[in-house]
Symmetry: D2
Subunit: 362 residues, 4 copies
């Protein structure tokens, strides 16, 4: 299947461009009977919405979502769920200055070479605005996972540029514009962002996502591993350059005697494996960490070429996030939710008759 | 599709267990006309073969591969390519001591909970011996990519436990038992491994893989990004806990003015994006780095539980790699080759009529 | 992938219910550079539109389609093409009388048992109104196949109930409300339909579809045969109960010396195989014939049960086609177009480098 | 995914050529815990084996199957099930006379044009010998469906050339070499076949397959309809030119008042829909009928061309079935079993939490 659909049983299909009339998606495979209304999607969409603070793009989009199918009398029917988000504040003229040039770090050049055409307005299909579809689809998955299995998926900003942000409390995450789980650093990060914005430059970020309550047994060996599908889902988010599960790259320097999570009758003693062993969930929290590169659209002049291959420079003056990672938390949560839901369905398809022989405490 | 097949157009299907009669695979979608013989697969299989030095498992397997279909008079016909590798040196009795216990860091517990059954012999389906199938399938992909597009895929060990191994030369990689691209450090690493083996413990590793010569344009936005498929393929390799493309996690601390690869008429000035922008190859080298956790099978006693949930300890005395990362290089190369070949085919399906408007030097 | 998407490379995803706000779809995998505007889809949608004569349902729908993405400056970009058709004339109250009963021949009972919920309004997701999505997706495929390969896809009504309708000329098809390729029988069929409608009953139909200009070589053995995919596509159309390729069921009574199409330097002498041999197109016309069952919604009283399992009777008084086969021609054409386009792309993915050794005249 | 794999959750992958070393397959997605041994597959393979009577090809193959993975201590583990059938009696020299010509009705020409190469020995990949893989995979599905859901799948020869063979009793099917459910006609059919074989010609056949005990609710609207997947599976069998579900083509001439299966508290009154409504099983028997064309390999001279395009004639003197339909019954059963099992798994993935509100008697 082509690149705009993902999932085996919980399938998400996406369409839309930054400056086209609308984004939309189709969620296929959702079990029937789930209570669902526009607000369930809207709530999550509002978390990633642009324009919500001075630290993100000032494009004004209400991101109002309309469910078009698959719901009858307030509950899912098992039919495909179509939904639509109209674009409202596209300013295509912002892009006239750059239509003939390639912005470094952007997909302008690769799309143009691949397809032979280029929709320069706001990144076209490559725009991170496409993540509205992911967040809407993820909202459904989150709700189902919570209601059916008690799975709770949460994320937070773990680093903003060079600033590490230690985890303190999930309760903080929705109280600051950065999705930081740390109240003490909010002011410092605001100052950091103000300065960064002022400088015309941008920075990268790290986002951590955790799913708690995942039952043991989700995931398919060998190529359909839970962590493999998570890795793909995360790496498919715009600007992501790295994915870790559990100890991630720190595992390189660990000894086996340190890394391998010991087990006791009370459960696992540690979680270096990030809740996945052999591609199958262990019953512990599934922990994922991703690296987002700095926004490519910056106001500083950069060397590039134009469509004729001639050397030139480019500055990007449209409305952009100085750190795309800031709004990435709800997106990463959504992708994790979609993958987990897909595997929940896949697991019960093949192993619906298995009674797990025993179970550790979490 | 279920978990033992991957790829959209270049599809690899795998079967086999560590102590069963054989491993085998089916490669579907290979273009016709490629010269192919057993030796083409054997050459790569010999690179990952166990028992090739004292630093890896002493299990003795010739890993002799037999192509069973899809080749006629020395060339691929376009039909499915089936191949088989018989197991020769399985010693199932090694496992009797641990059949009732779960080895920390292994998939014993998760398989048992998921499927309700447990093949304790050598990890069963979860064994890293499954990678013979990947390497065989990758050998075909490598050969086709090289002959058809001039793509060259190479990898090397970049860290062995805490020891960073700076890259010096591709020429060294096949001259030492570690796939190190650095002659100067071989002795030191041999001593390190001897000491590690002596201690009964294990360590992690980093492997870097690079594909040079990839044309601009491979990869499908949005969910079918080239880097997303690479991430899945790499994370599906046994023991991998992290994947980076280009700058990877280092991108977090970069500024946009530093990360975004500038372009000149002579080509890109840097390659922080690892040869992929917007999920589509740029024409630069595709660079991937993976983290492998330390081998879970160690001789040191570890706390665990048995099938009844009672506390016990376990030591693993079978024949194991003290560092699974050592043999991972050909496997990672193979997975990258399979993904690239899949995308080469997918690209020409959709964009076979596009003449890339212009092209930077590499 | 779940049931609302079909195709491997030319992927069509569908959503919508008969009495919901809208139908819509996403076409993924269309090559870039194809000229495309709303009218290209509208033209085909108008052919299957309800209310176009007294012989079909009197529901009044303009079926106005809006392309929402994937097209820039009048040409496809290679991105997913989303489109929307709003429902305008749903009269849900027509269904209140039958909400508690199961209509014989309808999917009411099976949907209810499968999903545990029932959207009784107009068949919900099971309504044949879903075929707007197919026709829209097929319009794109038809256009591309025509422009890129010269493929022409046409269909006609070949039997209306017991009345066989001999083929005379493609030119007639769009000149009568039945898609008959036979001018002489139009009056007779109008009388037949008037009488049928009067009686409150319904009848079945046969529709033939032909694709001319298909190059030799499309289709994948073994399970991905061109004819297998055509069979699935046709059988997935509402009310279809049978599919034939070439001689179809007549082949049972043929001798091998009669059926096997002889070849001469001027081409094949006959076309019993319907343009497909071994699952691969021969270069001849691909010929398909389908059987559509009589409309299940009739005004005559029928025995059934209600939701409590009690015996009752039901008459269906909503607005329905007395013969669903009448409007099936553009739908069958569309499905054939989608399958052919999918295989055109699949073929050039795997065999893009093959020069067909020789070629018969058509 | 490419053409040698089918199924979404119960996935069958196939490889092998008529005159290569072996056929083999991989079944992925089978639930764990199913008792399975070589004999379970062998039993079904023996039913389709060549050389079992004078009415079929005299090629002598034991078709001995070896399960290579996925089974541990006599039960499936949930891992991929690989299996192998070695070819034993390939006589490639039989084909030297025809290596330069195209046999009418065969895939010689289309394979050659598609792939640019031709394995003329026994049809290569296009040989109906590939159906060993289907039958082996179907044997597993049949067993699971029977044990888990009580589904019984049976087929019989319903017409041999122009001879209709009325159904009398399932008990007869395995007592004659034709899979006829009619003892009275066996002698007549033997005489018919002797005469046919004598004449050097071949004939077509009709095979009916029935699945009893299928629960209500299997199948996915819209494109993933149960009957659509059945149609594809059947049409993918070598020589099949037509597929019917339920009333099939007879539905064309039916009135709605005749076709629509009425319901009473005791169940459906008739089964014109063949056990499928809206693409979802009704709980009635799923009834399928297929048309198989006459064998293309006949001893009578036929006009054709050679590789240079010159006119010539060809006679096929290898060992062939004078009616491929005779051995098609177990193959059609197998394909139906695979599709039903796939949908059983898909159904419980999405609707595993649904309690069917009520249920008709069968």
């Amino acid at each position: 299947m082509s690149g705009n659909t993902f999932g085996v049983l919980y399938c998400v299909t996406s369409f839309g461009e930054s400056h086209g009339p609308a984004y939309g998606g189709v969620v296929d495979g959702c079990p029937p009977g789930l209570e669902l209304k526009n607000e369930d999607l809207q709530k999550e969409l509002d978390r990633r919405k642009p324009g919500s603070s001075r630290h993100v793009t000032q494009r004004r989009e209400s991101d109002a979502v309309e469910i078009l199918s698959g719901v009858f009398e307030g509950r899912t029917t098992g039919a495909a769920i179509g939904f639509l988000v109209r674009n409202e504040d596209a300013r295509s003229k912002d892009y006239s200055a750059i239509a003939e040039k390639f912005r470094p770090g952007h997909a302008d050049y690769t799309y143009w070479q691949k397809y032979g055409v280029r929709d320069a307005r706001g990144g076209g299909r490559a725009s991170a605005r496409e993540t509205v579809v992911r967040v809407a689809a993820g909202a459904i998955a989150k709700k189902w996972l919570k209601e059916r299995y008690g799975v709770v998926i949460r994320g937070c900003l773990a680093a903003l540029g060079k600033n590490e942000i230690p985890f303190q409390s999930w309760g903080e995450v929705d109280r600051n514009p950065f999705f930081m789980a740390n109240a003490a650093l909010v002011k410092k990060m605001e100052a950091f962002m103000d300065e960064l914005r002022e400088s015309g430059d941008s920075c990268g970020a790290r986002v951590n996502v955790v799913a708690e309550g995942v039952p043991v047994g989700w995931g398919e060996p060998v190529y359909g591993r839970l962590d493999a599908d998570i890795a793909a889902a995360m790496m498919s988010i715009n600007a992501v350059k790295g994915v870790e599960i559990g100890a991630g790259f720190a595992a390189i320097a660990q000894k086996g005697s340190e890394h391998g999570d010991e087990m006791t009758p009370q459960g696992f003693v540690s979680n270096n494996n990030g809740g996945v062993l052999g591609g199958i969930s262990t019953g512990q929290a599934v922990t994922v960490s991703i690296a987002l590169k700095p926004t490519s659209s910056i106001r500083l002049p950069r060397r590039t070429i134009d469509k004729s291959g001639r050397a030139t420079t480019v500055e990007t003056t449209g409305r952009h996030d100085p750190c795309v990672g800031i709004r990435a938390t709800p997106i990463a949560e959504a992708m994790l939710a979609c993958v987990l839901m897909d595997h929940a369905l896949r697991h019960r398809a093949q192993c619906g008759d298995v009674t797990p022989p025993t179970r550790l405490s979490r």
